[in-house]
Amino acid sequence: MAEKIAQLIVDLEEEQTVAAVRTALDDGTDPLVLVEELREGMSEVGRRFEEKEYYLSELIMSAEIFKQAIALIEPHISGGADMSKGAVVIGTVQGDIHDIGKNIVASLLRCEGFDVHDLGVDVAPAAFVDKLKETGAPVLALSGLLTMAFDTMKETVDAVAGADLRDKVRIIIGGGPVNEAVVEFTGADAFGKDAAEAVRLASG
């Protein structure tokens, strides 16, 4: 059953995946086994994306199916089980409201098992710092599409340093025009050229 679920998500079979998860839960399958199988399916989708067999739309669809399946499974997982791979704070920096890339990355991070704190768009540097302090997240992901966002990314990186968190937090950036020169300008650690790479960077 579990193996079939992994294949169903790879095949982007939305209704069949959800139905199979529901049936497996009714049959008493260990929910953690189902989560692992779903993640296995997502890993295969990620591999196909990196090999250029799959495109972004397929990545987005698989993440949507994963989200629905996890919502079914979560109530069956006992409180003691910790599935989190760690916390990530993410947001689109101040002065920019573009959220497509940020939302995709947040969604994929959740699929990978990260505890994602999405602050939304037009986020002030202080808000990122406050959330990092509150969560102790070791990863900060900043997004922006406008070139003006480079300046607020830099301000955010500086604010993290000003709060004595810089050596505890890995800062990754992304967005349409972002490249290595922007990493250097902002003082971030790395940039992801696409959503899959951003997830890989967050994983360390």
Binding site: K52, Y55, S57, E64, I100, T147, F150, D151, V182
Partner: protein, 378 residues
């Protein structure tokens, strides 16, 4: 004898070799910031936008023309989109903010077929009155529509004045969207529309069939008013950065083909302004009319691959990246442009341009380097 800007652009479009590579960026956002004109003034007072462009050219050097222009387009953009974009100086937005689309669905999947059943114009009018923050009654729509027509008239006068100065507004205000791009950007939002492609492909096809002609007519009206026989056809949501090849071939490519053919049949050049990465789809673009289109890339696609695959099929235009113009040095910009000019322009069929818009916070010395590059290397 030197060619005029118009002749230079037309020669490149026909894949011939002009006297030098033409330079046609999207410049007005940068020009207004450079000249001290706010983004709000640019969108709503075309005379101020034109003054800013002239001052920029006086200071940094003349150019052959401008690609898409936002000057005086504010009322049109606010009017034709049921979920209007963030515009500077409108509804509390700062006067000098950068404009942006808003990703908010105003259409439910069950409504895709409704568009055709009720008729696009009636459906859009009702949807606008339902969702637009300012256009809530037919009186509001008529009043604002009249304002748009007045502004379009001002754009027309501006276009004529520029052409007399040997400066070519490449596509003026002649905007065309394919139905899928329109639905993703204006009606459903990126994420929902991307999921809809898997869930409701037949409904999307039905909506596309209903929307296509009214969307073409918007561009055609622009051409009739401005006299510029080119149209801006923006593409990003149906790029290889987003949808699969299968989805592109089944849903999107037929729209690009039909839309291009519609305008080419009327003697109008489609300028395909393709943001994001289209490289994987380049071979498929050979099905678009030959020697009749301009392919404008933003620095994300492989423009050298475009030349290799499509160089004998359509004019290539691009693609100095925004990040380079903001963070780079003039020598780097010059080197980037020189390579484009020599590798892509030596046998014609190439227009140098900014990758999408010159960012409003680009370094003026970098813009100057870009302007000078065609005179130095072209």
């Amino acid at each position: 004898m030197a060619m005029t800007s118009f002749e230079r652009i037309e020669a490149a479009t026909r894949l011939e070799k002009p006297d030098r590579v033409p330079f046609v960026p999207i410049i007005d956002m940068f020009a207004c910031r450079y000249a001290g004109v706010t983004q709000h003034e640019m969108f709503f007072d075309i005379r101020r936008a034109d003054w800013a462009i002239q001052k920029t050219m006086d200071d940094l050097g003349t150019i052959d023309g401008m690609s898409l222009s936002y000057g005086g387009m504010g009322s049109l953009l606010d009017f034709i989109i049921p979920n209007p974009p963030v515009l500077p100086g409108v509804r509390g937005v700062d006067d000098d903010a950068e404009w942006m689309f808003v990703e908010k669905p105003v259409l439910e999947p069950s409504e895709y077929r409704e568009i055709g059943r009720r008729g696009v114009i009636r459906w859009t009018l009702d949807k606008t009155m339902e969702t637009h923050p300012n256009l809530n009654t037919k009186v509001d729509v008529v009043k604002e529509g009249s304002r748009v027509l007045l502004d379009m008239n001002k754009i027309t006068r501006s276009v004529r004045a520029w052409r007399k100065k040997n400066f070519e507004p490449l596509v003026a205000a002649n905007l065309v969207f394919t139905p899928m791009e329109w639905m993703s950007i204006m009606l459903r939002g990126f994420n929902d529309f991307t999921l809809d492609l898997f869930r409701y492909p037949e409904d999307i096809k039905a909506a596309s069939a209903a929307l296509k002609k009214p969307l073409w007519w918007i561009g055609l009206i622009g051409v009739k008013m401005t006299g510029v026989k080119r149209v801006f056809m923006g593409g990003t949501r149906t790029s290889a950065s987003v949808i699969s090849k299968k989805q592109f071939e089944e849903l999107s490519l037929p729209e690009w083909q039909e839309t291009s053919e519609y305008f080419v049949e009327r003697g109008i050049t489609p300028m395909l302004h393709f943001d994001s990465d289209w490289t994987a789809f380049f071979p498929l673009l050979k099905s678009l009319p030959r020697r009749k289109c301009i392919l404008n890339l933003d620095g994300t696609s492989d423009i050298y691959k475009a030349k290799e695959i499509l160089g004998d099929h359509m004019c290539i235009m691009g693609d100095v990246p925004a990040a380079l113009l903001k963070l780079g040095e003039p020598e780097e910009v010059d080197a980037y442009c020189e390579k484009l000019i020599k590798d892509l322009g030596s046998d014609g069929g190439f227009i140098l341009s900014s990758g999408c818009t010159i960012p409003l916070d680009a370094k003026p010395e970098n813009v100057k380097a870009m302007i000078q590059s065609v005179k130095r290397h072209g």
